[in-house]
Symmetry: C4
Subunit: 289 residues, 4 copies
């Protein structure tokens, strides 16, 4: 599909919508971000009853305006891309759809409206727009550390869950319904609340034995909280060490790569080099100059 | 006892029950896991009164079915092993027994039923079945880090306990019974709740002096929480460093060891090498092929 | 403006007020600190109704005395400096003004009085007075570690906020108004309370599904708390390592720099070397000996 | 005062009471520990009203027995030492006195009884008795890490306090008395409770603005908790690294030093080498053999 696309409206629109290198593209992204933030705030305000009663019409109209804008944006995103199916099934494609339809669904179903909060996920786009290589690097490093410690944290959370089930059952037997431990799932819930040191206090042991076991659980949880922290810390130190040593050579390359917001119209591959002419994934032509 | 066992039903069963290298062994372990999970969920649902009233008979029958399955499994585990006593007294042997008998005991005693939650411990078997060397390695590394920092964390928890006793008594003297500090054990309990940053709020100081001391305890606890975290973090970094450096040579060996689920029928030793013919602990023949 | 200033009262006062190298300068700073602490305690006591009723006149008069002292100090600071505008617009200049005017404003507006708590920020001056190179070094190292991990922690807090918005909306839908989740902003607030493991318990889920989601949020938050800790820990290890290695040569220099409290009368530049005769920023003469 | 003391009852007693190398010394220390633990438990039980009413006489008599034993021990400690004044004014001397007199004071003053909880501090002696070089080493390493990070953690806690005062005052202005923020000290207390992620919930913001500020405080506190942890972690890694490298030579020496419980009868210096004949502090003869 290596057609030599000319400066048609389609390619121009693709540049504006998917990229942030041109002034128009930057403007589009900033307007989009403001629209997303505005729509989240609108949904929040709508959920406050006293506010909704006063300004119901204003909120409703604003919601519809933003939803229609999002619908137009969604359609344009599909139109300007070579393989619409690929976009529709991509992570952002699904998020974009899910953040648009709730308002339409609210015509038929009550409550679906609140799904609009999914629009918050669209905010993740902010990182691309801000073009802050520094922040992107930071988030990459973070992602690597979390990735590397995923297996260990899973093992750890699994152990916490097993401990919660066992201690939850013991607390259910010891405390009984008087102090809120009315059934085992609730006791397990309380146990998780306690081990994670959240401690709501909606349920709390009142018998001496229950309080003693609770103290044991807390001290155990206190010791346990050290484990995932230590893991991430160690992994992060490792990954930070790795990126630090080969710094001199890679830094320039790294920056040029992350600073470019080009997005292939064919396969959505990103992170192209600044002087790239063809997509490094599918070979489709990139720049239309 | 190095008898050359042939493909009798006993050796075949041993392979299925204790190992997860053959398709039958894998299937058995997966079915076992599902049964364990199902039984835990059943006990939880039974403890919810409204649910129990509706589906009491269904829950009871399901419980009995699973208990009988576990009983059969327990008997088979004893039968297929060369030294049954050793299995019965092993960690998993005791857990298996304890997770089977509560239902039988419930015929005589009310409440013993809930001990079934101990079955959660059987879930630890999941790691063997998943055969995820990655996860096993992670859990080994974790275990090492925790082992290495055990002594230090003990010293630390001991200090926390002494501080809790002293501050608990002070709070008892300062606050008195009005705000829930009715006796010293309860005050010590509150002190542990506060120092571990759980903070239920079922007991909370109301006098200015009590609140001041509470603030001191909290800030102290805030500084203290750093200690065990720092310890585990440092130990983990060390142990991760150790396993990282001699990586090239040991990695292959490490993986083959942890991936093998062979279990000696004589002494339950695990972690055999893939090409092992005899148990590395007792010399008993391993593979029956 | 390199006028050769003689031992006029102005230069003498500048030395006393802005520096802590002479006995008079030290005394001035200690008196200032005591006055700041006293004024903060006074405002606190005034806010306690029972205390205010008894000692209202004493508190009021003391407040006025301290305020007038601060006013004089503020005027002297402006007078003894070459470029008053620069001081007035500096961080400490604004803090000094804001900590002086509330009492005057309280003549016209009720409540503005409490702004006096901003005086707490003036306490930051304590570090200069104590002249503890050890503490200054510690705080510099801290500042560096925090600076280096700022970008990463921002990314992380941004992710926490997005997660809070999404989970807050879900909890609003699941729980409803009965358990305190009356609107989305409140749900988001609850979500932040929970993810940061604070857990007030003023709002707490009561439906089984709500409690299940809460447990997921908590365990997630428990895993997440590891991330910024790991980042700071790693950055701090790095920055500590850097300052440790080139220790032999730099230590002397470092100490002389941080121990000197000279402050240029022209541009407020600090951290002069002990034998400096001219400001290293603007070239204005420093020592008047 | 280098008198060549013979095997008199005084030197024998000194060996038994102050050291744990002989069987009698060990026995004495174990009996002492049990007595301390028993007395702490007695005081705790006494504070439980229902328990005290039933067994008041038994508790009272047991208390007196233990107090008299402690009195005898205290007198013997004074008698068997060359310079009694030095012992009386030492840390343990004061603790020993404070843990003995409350019972006598309770004859005259009500309530002084509960000071007996100070006896918990005597439990710190357990480390000497257990003679666990492993634990002592661990506690030394811990102490070093905490010592090294003391300055940094002080800076940090100081910052937390200033932030608490400022945010506490803001919350007092925003929330007012309705939600429990009745005065500034209470607001500051709430702020510390929140920043340390304890979160009792006895005071909680109810206005939207108050909840927003609370969310900001929490997220800030969430980021802040990372700092002291990172510091201790980094310091501990450093100190662990130091003790690890020169291990080969120093380990033997280290162990012999920490394993010896000799205590100079003249100046209370500890940590003597196993073959030491004279105190390394005052030159007084050590072993009486």
């Amino acid at each position: 599909m290596k057609t030599s696309q000319k400066h048609t409206w389609k390619t121009k629109l693709h540049e504006i919508i998917y990229e942030a290198d041109t002034p128009e593209g930057k403007l589009f992204d900033i307007v989009l971000l403001i629209a997303i933030l505005a729509s989240i705030i609108l949904v929040m305000l709508e959920s406050i009853e006293s506010f909704d009663q006063k300004y119901h019409d204003f909120l409703n109209v604003s919601e519809w305006v933003i939803t229609i804008l999002f619908t137009i944006e969604y359609i344009l995103r599909i139109v300007t891309v070579n393989k619409p199916i690929k976009y529709i099934l991509s992570f952002y494609g699904i998020i974009d759809l899910l953040s648009t339809i709730p308002k339409y669904l609210s015509l038929f179903f009550v409550g679906s409206q609140a799904l609009v909060a999914l629009r918050a996920l669209r905010l993740l786009r902010v990182f691309r727009i801000l073009k802050l290589a520094r922040y992107l690097g930071a988030s990459n490093q973070l992602a690597n550390a979390i990735k590397a410690s995923r297996a260990k944290i899973s093992v750890f959370l699994f152990a916490v869950l097993i401990a919660s089930v066992i201690f939850g059952t013991i607390m259910y037997l010891v405390e009984g319904a008087d102090s809120g431990f009315t059934n085992i799932p609730k006791s397990v819930y309380w146990c998780i609340v306690t081990m994670t040191t959240v401690g709501f206090g909606d349920i709390a042991p009142i018998t001496p034995l229950g309080q003693f076991i609770a103290a044991v659980i807390m001290i155990m949880g206190y010791g346990i909280i050290a484990v995932p922290t230590g893991i991430v810390s160690a992994e992060y130190t490792k990954s930070a060490g790795k990126t630090q040593n080969p710094k001199k050579e890679d830094e320039t390359k790294l920056k040029t790569v992350t600073l470019n917001t080009q997005c292939c119209a064919n396969c959505f591959a990103q992170k192209h080099q600044d002087d790239a002419e063809y997509c490094h994934k599918c070979g489709c032509k990139l720049r239309y100059d």
